[in-house]
């Protein structure tokens, strides 16, 4: 009987071998795939297993973590002033994953990032509980508050940048949501989430970064910069050769002017009263290629990462002459995020040098050691210093003499430049227009803040009042004052 016995022994050995091979397949080859599988709750469990690090503004945390004693997800995220900060923080939900800073810097916040390996190992030996690191933002609490309060219950967004460095100072979007309302995974959280998902006002949309609007007249700043930069205009006070009415190229449709005195108006005058004809004609003369070139130097046609992704603003690269002329006054296919317009204002304010916008100042380890600092970085130079200063002159003229009067801050030694915009949209421009305002404040030591404000359809406001100067400029002023007063 020994011969078959030996064979059976080999057979049993093969059974064990098959198990060993299968286990290697499962735990070595497929380990990563299974470990990060979307059905695998371990990722989320790990995210909330330890006290999560905080997101910090002005040295104070705007987030928190409570020990919920839940056997699955132990710590739950809390937010101070959740709706105000939601466009910055995003959310960290036990049931619905995470977004924005909470998602991008999840590794630091949970303490699982490779850069925190040393801290983790040390904590293992000292027996301390693992905690997450902090994310220090560039935001300015006062400016954010001013922006959020200014928008109030209107739909809109505000983006404010420090032109010298590119630090984002305010990023507000309304209507907003409270990320605390669905931070857990209970039925209540689900209800809150579903309600937000189904809300026609889309409160979860980060309008400052993720929505593109027709810019209307605020885009004229870009056209002015392009005209100066490409030598189309050298003297801003010289009369231009602009007929009244001016017909859009390739069509017999006249370009309407809402303002008086646009015939042959100088560039300075045209920006002051916001002449469509002058800028449409200038954009046509500069030509599509060069308009695209300047717009792209300002950041159009590319996604921006701050490091949260902002969608690409659009300046059409393939349209015909008529489209280009209309685009030059911010109509046709032109569409932009509020952040993009803030970048335009910032480039002007910073004498033509556009700094890459960013909102994460530094990452800290649980022990508050700095893991990584973001250094200001030059993104491009859309115009020369000389031309930038000419545009500044014109924008400051808009505030002191033109449509942007309500943006003037009452601070000695501070000059304010701005541009209003009232963008029409909808079929036959039937929908209520968007009110835009972009501006910057400037002191002797350079510009501390550039801001873009958009207010969407405001029900209950008379249509004539919906102009950038009336609705958006006061918000921009409050934000600028907040930044100036915070002494930076």
């Amino acid at each position: 009987m020994n011969k078959p016995l030996r064979r059976v022994a080999i057979f049993c050995g093969l059974l064990v071998l098959a198990l060993l091979l299968r286990d290697n397949w499962l735990q070595y080859v497929r380990a990563d795939e299974l470990n990060s599988h979307q059905k695998n709750r371990r990722v989320t469990i790990e995210r909330y297993a330890n006290e999560r690090g905080n997101i910090i503004v002005d040295g104070k945390p705007i987030t928190g973590s409570v020990d919920s004693k839940d056997p699955y997800y132990r710590f739950k995220r809390t937010y101070t002033d959740g709706p105000m900060w939601a466009p910055v923080t995003g959310y960290a939900s036990q049931a619905y994953d995470a977004s924005q800073i909470e998602k991008i810097e999840d590794g630091i916040l949970t303490g699982n990032d490779d850069r925190l390996f040393f801290d983790r190992t040390l904590a293992m030996f000292t027996g301390e509980k693992k905690t997450g690191g902090n994310v220090v933002t560039t935001l300015n609490g006062a400016a954010q508050k001013a922006a959020f309060k200014g928008l109030g219950d209107k739909k809109g967004a505000v983006a404010a940048i420090d032109p010298k460095t590119g630090r984002i100072l305010a990023l507000a979007s309304t209507p907003s949501y409270d990320p605390s309302s669905f931070a857990g995974y209970s039925g209540k959280d689900e209800k809150a989430w579903v309600a937000l998902e189904n809300d026609p006002d889309k409160p979860k949309l980060n309008r400052a970064l993720r929505e593109i609007y027709p810019p209307g007249s605020v885009f004229k700043v870009v056209t002015a910069a392009a005209a100066l930069e490409h030598g189309q205009v050298t003297d801003i006070n010289a009369a231009t050769d602009t007929p009244e009415p001016y017909n859009i190229p390739l069509s017999r449709v006249p370009m309407k002017n809402h303002a008086q005195g646009c015939k042959n108006a100088s560039l300075n005058k045209a920006l002051e009263v916001s002449c469509n004809s002058v800028f449409a004609k200038l954009g046509d003369e500069v030509g599509r290629e060069k308009m695209v070139e300047t717009a792209e130097k300002f950041g159009f046609n590319a996604e921006q990462f701050v490091p949260i992704r902002a969608v690409a603003s659009v300046y059409d690269k393939k349209m015909d002459r008529g489209g280009n002329a209309q685009s030059s006054i911010g109509q046709f296919n032109t569409a932009t995020t509020p952040l993009q317009m803030a970048m335009v204002a910032a480039a002007v304010a910073n004498d033509g040098k556009l700094m890459k916008p960013y909102m994460i100042d530094k990452l800290e380890s649980p022990k508050l050691d700095v893991v990584k600092t973001t250094e200001p970085e030059e993104m491009s130079r859309p115009m020369s210093q000389k031309n930038a200063q000419l545009v500044q002159q014109m924008m400051e003229n808009v505030v002191s003499n033109g449509t942007g009067g309500k943006a003037d801050v009452d601070r000695p030694g501070v000059k304010v430049g701005g541009k209003t915009g009232t963008a029409q949209h909808g079929v036959g421009n039937k929908k209520r227009p968007y009110a835009w305002f972009i501006s910057y404040a400037k002191t002797d030591s350079g510009s501390p803040v550039a801001v873009a404000v958009i207010v969407e359809d405001s029900a209950g406001t008379a249509r004539d009042d919906i102009s950038g100067g009336g609705l958006a400029a006061p918000i921009a002023r409050d934000v600028m004052e907040a930044v100036l007063d915070s002494g930076k």
Binding site: M1, N2, K3, P4, L5, R6, V8, A9, F11, C12, G13, L15, V16, A18, L19, L20, R22, D23, N24, L26, Q27, Y28, R30, A31, D32, E33, L34, N35, H37, K39, N40, R41, R42, I45, P71, Y72, G127
Partner: protein
């Protein structure tokens, strides 16, 4: 020049009994689980678990008594079997205790009672049975007398779960009976009893089964009347599969019978026939038993099946369970998360019994699982070695049957939880929570030890013959 002056007698060199080797290994088998216990306590509470001393002493005491009894009653027994069983049982206790600490599992039950103390009690009963077998079964050949009684007992045990009022349906499989507060899995005991029956039966009939056959297509086909037993076993296996919904038990019994038949008759034709019958039966049953179908679906692609299975159906439950188990293994990776630090308690059902191997996978990683598989492999190897060394055909067959059944069980259970084959409702011997399993497997180890002792025991010295004495003495 020296002259040999003394007289030298060349006697039989006494075989080493290997009892000291066993004692040394037992030391490891006790110390390793104690450290594992400490490890879990430190990982979960950050302090030395209060029960550690008691646990260590308890395990040490069980192992010590078992060792002394083996030393006394089975002096030449295989030195590896007892330490391996002790180590697996000890680690199993640690894993069950670890899952008892899980707040998720505690939260899942209205009244939660820890399983580890029960398992410790079952282990003690198991070791007691082990001792009783060694003390009272002085020679395994005694079992031969009970061949046909064994058959009756085995059939009764296997069919007990089908008795109304006695059998209990646990998650689809009817392999339990409930007596008062106790749940018993009779299949675990039947495994041993039926091995006794097969051995006794085949030892007697093997010549008939091997020789009286016709040659057909290069295979020796048995006579029709000799097909009776294999057909009966096949039918009983299918009955188990259909009525008790248990693929594992059914596969185990049929596989064991085919292996023993092959070993007894040395005829490959039995294996061919057995395989054909197994495949045929599986296909037929699989085509109409929904329970089997959902297990197969969960095996083929659990993640896909989770999407397509109707909600709250048995199939969805089976697939969800399988995905949880696979993710548990995957999350362990090569080195595992460390004892007490994994999330294998996400497996909603039977985490400490059917799926305890997933906890090994997650917390001890690929390394730990391979170590466990090799330990089981070693038990199988020692069992087959015992069978090879046994001097009598009954002992050979019995040892082979028991180790073959053990091997099949490991393959079916570990292969099932790792997704190699469809999942079945059996448990890892010694590791999983369950009294029947622990007690029956201790008895199985006891029988193997008894056979190995008989096999290795030196033959009694032949009676001294005065003539022989003279010729062997060299006188100067």
């Amino acid at each position: 020049m020296s002259v040999v002056t003394n007289t030298t007698t060349i006697g039989a060199i006494e075989l080493p009994s290997r009892r000291n080797t066993e004692l040394l290994l037992l030391g490891f088998a006790v110390v390793i689980p104690v450290f594992a216990y400490l490890n879990v306590g430190l990982a979960i509470d950050g302090k030395v678990p209060p029960g550690m001393l008691g646990y260590g002493l308890g395990l040490g005491l069980l192992a010590g008594v078992a060792h002394l009894v083996v030393r006394k009653f089975a002096k030449y027994a295989d030195p590896l079997l007892l330490p391996l069983a002790t180590l697996l049982n000890g680690l199993g206790l640690v894993l069950i205790w670890r899952l008892d600490q899980s707040p998720r599992i505690i939260a899942r039950y209205k009244t939660f009672s820890p399983d580890a103390p029960n398992q410790l009690m079952y282990s003690a009963i198991g070791v007691a049975l082990f001792l009783l077998v060694l003390m009272f079964l002085k020679d395994h050949r005694v079992l031969q007398r009970f061949t046909y009684i064994s058959m009756m007992v085995a059939i009764v045990l296997l069919l007990l779960p089908l008795v109304p009022g006695l059998g209990a349906d646990v998650f689809g499989a009817k392999i339990w009976i409930r007596i008062g507060p106790f749940s018993i899995q009779p299949g675990e005991f039947a495994k041993i009893v039926i091995a006794v029956f097969f051995s006794g039966y085949l030892m007697v009939k093997r010549d008939a089964l091997a020789l009286a056959s016709r040659r057909f297509l290069g295979l020796y086909l048995p006579r029709g009347r000799d097909l009776g037993p294999i057909l009966t076993i096949w039918a009983v296996s299918l009955l188990i599969l259909v009525f008790e919904n248990d693929l594992g038990t059914s596969l185990l019994f049929f596989g064991m019978f085919v292996i023993m038949l092959y070993v007894a008759t040395e005829r490959t034709s039995w294996i061919v026939m057995g395989l054909l019958m197994a495949v045929g039966g599986a296909v037929v049953v699989g085509s109409f038993a929904t329970h089997v179908q959902s297990r197969v679906a969960a095996w083929l692609d659990p993640f896909e099946c989770l999407k397509t299975a109707p909600e709250r159906s048995n199939m969805a439950a089976a697939c969800d369970q399988m995905t949880q188990v696979l993710m548990s293994f995957g999350s362990g990776g090569v080195l595992g998360t460390g004892l007490g630090q994994g999330n294998s308690d996400l497996i909603g059902f039977a985490a400490n019994s059917d799926f305890i191997f997933a906890t090994v996978g997650e917390e001890l990683g690929l390394t730990g699982v391979m170590a466990f598989l090799l330990m089981y492999g070693l038990i199988i190897e020692r069992g087959i070695r015992t069978s090879l060394a046994a001097r009598d055909p009954f002992g050979k067959l019995l040892a082979m049957g028991l180790s073959g059944a053990f091997a099949l069980q490991i393959f079916v259970v570990a292969g099932g939880v790792m997704g190699l084959i469809p999942l079945t409702g059996m448990t890892m011997p010694f590791l999983a929570y369950g009294g029947s399993s622990v007690i029956a497997n201790w008895a199985l180890i006891a029988i193997l030890i008894r056979i190995s002792d008989t096999a290795r025991r030196p033959a009694p010295a032949p009676a001294p013959s005065p003539d022989a004495e003279m010729t062997q003495v060299v006188r100067p």
